[in-house]
Amino acid sequence: MKVINRRDFLKTGLAAGAGLTLGMYIPPIVAGESKPTTGKTFEPNAFVHIGSDNIVTVISKHMEMGQGVYTGLATLVAEELDAAWAQIRVESAPADASRYNNLAWGTVQGTGGSTAIANAFTQMREAGASARAMLVQAAADLWKVKPETITVQEGVVSHAASKQQASFGKLAELAALQSVPEKITLKEPSKFRLIGSNNTPRKDSRAKTNGTAVYTQDVKLPNLLTAVVAHPPRFGGKVKRFNADKTKKMSGVVDVVEIPNGVAVLAKDFWSAKLGRDQLTVEWDDSKAFTLSSEDIMEQYHKTAEQPGLVAREEGEAAASMKQAAKTLKAAYEFPYLAHASMEPLNCVVNYTGKECEVWNGTQMQTADKYAVAKTLGLDPENVKVNTLFAGGSFGRRANPYSDYIVEAATIAKAIKGKTPVKLVWTREDDMQGGFYRPMYYHTLEAGLDEKGNLLAWQHRIVGQSILKGTAFEAFMVKNGIDHTSVEGAANLPYAIPNMQVELHTPDNIQVPVQWWRSVGSTHTAFSTETFLDEVAATMKKDPVELRRELLKDHPRHLGVLELAAEKADWGQALPTGRGRGIAVHESFNTYVAEVAEVTVKDGKFTVDRVVIAVDCGIAVNPDIIKAQMEGAMGFGLAATLSGKITLKDGKVEQANFHDYTVLRMDQMPKVEVYIVKSTEPPTGVGEPATPIIAPAVANALYAVTGQRFYQLPLSLKA
């Protein structure tokens, strides 16, 4: 049993609070109604602090980018602690993999892959339960009663028989003297009062409604300079020479430095830095740069797809049975590069002093970034402190396996020898053209039917760049040459088809930087598989829901969302001419989603009018946040369905801003209904799984109206 005595507790408290001091103070990112806690605190574990002022601080090991994780983790703690929701505030954890690692990822701290609630579900509840037990023991000692006779409700500890009561704050100091319990019992799900309720309003709502929420872009430090970088126009390009004479004479400009990936202009404010960059003349060395166009890449992929690839899944004898099939169907699909285009363009603040470095960023991968910065600056990682701020969206981009823009900020700080703190700001154009896109892909699919019209064989071949090759993730996510993120959603297709083969080609001559983009592999595999299956159903003259129902017999959770979505969307009921419905179902990150899209086609154009979403994510921790994530993730996918496309011309990215990389706007947002399947399974993620299936649902709906099939994203109707 671990006994924390008061002296130790104070020592730990102090050590944890002090950290790296660089002589300046930025208030920690606080979400919630209350002021930061003051006075003495009870710190039973790394996740819960209770102040004598009765404020409970939940330390979030995950970053908040809109997905609601601050509220989610706080709900789990508050549930088992029996705290009042109003007394909870949330603070971001320091980067420290020893305490704040993602349990789904092993030894790194990070947020992604819809893992936050799934990995922390038990951990956070235990943190709350453990704190509760110590508060109860403190009250028992104080009142000289048995702990079993004490109850806790809404942040009040009571002993009914003696009519004694105390707040958490009153007991905090005494509780700190208690031993941390070795064994704790968690609540039975039937006793949950916060989990699954809508009594847990988001902790970050107010700050995000009155302009006080602090993002990286908003960080202020004394003598802070803003850096804007002229990047090479082609990936792999380098600076040959540059002239900064004009720039250096401009007011506000303080310095111009060359860095490995371009030329950085440092100024007193953003606008001066940006104007300074406009006046630079840079000659680029493109000798090692990537100079192909999107069409060239696609042409290469077409050729590659003629050859067999590495086998990602094999069941039965797909090739042989395809030959015996009475009827076969073939299709090929093309997917463009996609930019994340979060509303907050990339940025990062660093303060490097020569011996230490402090970083402020809305990052999804705190500890990897910490090591990358340490390496760049030649520092011991111990001397790099990472502060995690809110991110203005990310969708995967702020989880860069190379810590690209963070390293860039550190490189600039190093180039000016840490004279001043630096805020690196990418303009929208830099963000759009800076790479790390969802890769381009090419898929071919073939299905074979037997005489009776049953699905006999399925062959799927995928061509596209690997996201993970060459990164730290390669070791555990690339097996036998197969990058899991290239085939997920296809290699685990749930349909009962006796002969199946899924193959992968990973070209390695394309230098365009690629990365995960909300729902990763499923962004393309869900489209090809779910539209192709629809085509198979039409060939069989079967209703798309009926065929899926037959093929999903052994997959009750897929089936559950399929049936729920179909029922709520009035599947099978007639619609007026020009309107139609389409359905798609898919599992990603262990969450099951079905969507029914309703479209109208008129004058060669279409609108998506209504989307019904059914989701099974196990126990629904925060139903309203789940709904919000379904609405938002579907909308994010719809943007790529309707218009998302990054293209290259001779190696240069052709899009620059929201006029040529158009994203979803309110007039394109359909009516959305979300239905959550009741479940007692452990909770799974909700940030991504609604994204990939809106495109196939819409494509299938358009087919229902027009008879046209779609083999490319974004979708376009034939004239």
């Binding site: 980018m65 809109g66 997905q67 609601g68 309003p201 988001r202 970050d204 709502s205 107010r206 700050a207 995000k208 409604t209 009155n210 302009g211 006080t212 929420a213 602090v214 993002y215 872009q217 908003d218 202020k220 007011s251 007193k268 404010d269 953003f270 606008w271 285009a341 979060s342 509303m343 907050e344 363009p345 809110f390 991110a391 203005g392 969206g393 990310s394 969708f395 929208r428 309203d624 946040i625 919000a628 609405e631 938002g632 993730a633 579907m634 909308g635 994010f636 719809l638 943007a639 801003n657 929201f658 006029h659 994203v663 979803l664 706007r665 309110m666 007039d667 947002m669 009516k671 959305v672």
Partner: protein
């Protein structure tokens, strides 16, 4: 020297008059609630009120608003603004939140000009504001909610 009133405080600014108002607000004045999203008038993240009308501060040079009155999210205290903020919190509109200052400034401007917008008017009025988290469904409902709140208040005042 350019004089400008921001959130009720008068500022004398020794700034290049061509500087976009957004950067004056953020970097010279230090109010960071107004956001940079595109810098080209395409996304609405930088929306503030100039003499009570919503404008895109990223494409508005300082010279164009000289002598005028600017309201940013930090100073939004009109009855429409407060109704909008309350509705935003009630319906939990914000996800990442980055676009929401702009959404709220646009929505309150919309209600100042039209207290009883119908669904199409709300959509048309809000379509200039991009939200990559696609909170549109809730933004729309929250504008309606705010309009209802304001109408309710107006009725009470009339009867009183």
């Amino acid at each position: 020297m350019i004089t400008l009133e921001i959130n009720g405080i008068s500022h004398h600014l020794d700034v290049d008059p061509n500087t976009p108002l957004l950067w004056v607000i953020r970097d010279s004045i230090g109010l960071t609630g107004t956001k940079y999203g595109c810098g080209q008038g395409l996304c609405g993240a930088c929306t503030v009120h100039f003499n009570d009308q919503p404008i895109r501060s990223c494409v508005t040079p300082l010279s164009a608003v000289a002598g005028g009155t600017i309201t940013t999210i930090e100073g939004l205290n009109s009855k429409e603004g407060q109704a909008v903020q309350a509705a935003w919190e009630k319906l939990e509109v914000a996800q990442c939140g980055y676009c929401q200052s702009g959404q709220i400034m646009t929505a309150s401007g919309l209600l100042q000009n039209n207290a009883t917008p119908d669904d199409e008017t709300i959509t048309a009025g809000m379509t200039g504001n991009i939200c990559r988290c696609a909170t549109y469904h809730r933004v729309h409902s929250a504008v309606k909610e705010a309009a209802n709140t304001l109408a309710g208040k107006a009725t009470v005042e009339e009867t009183a």
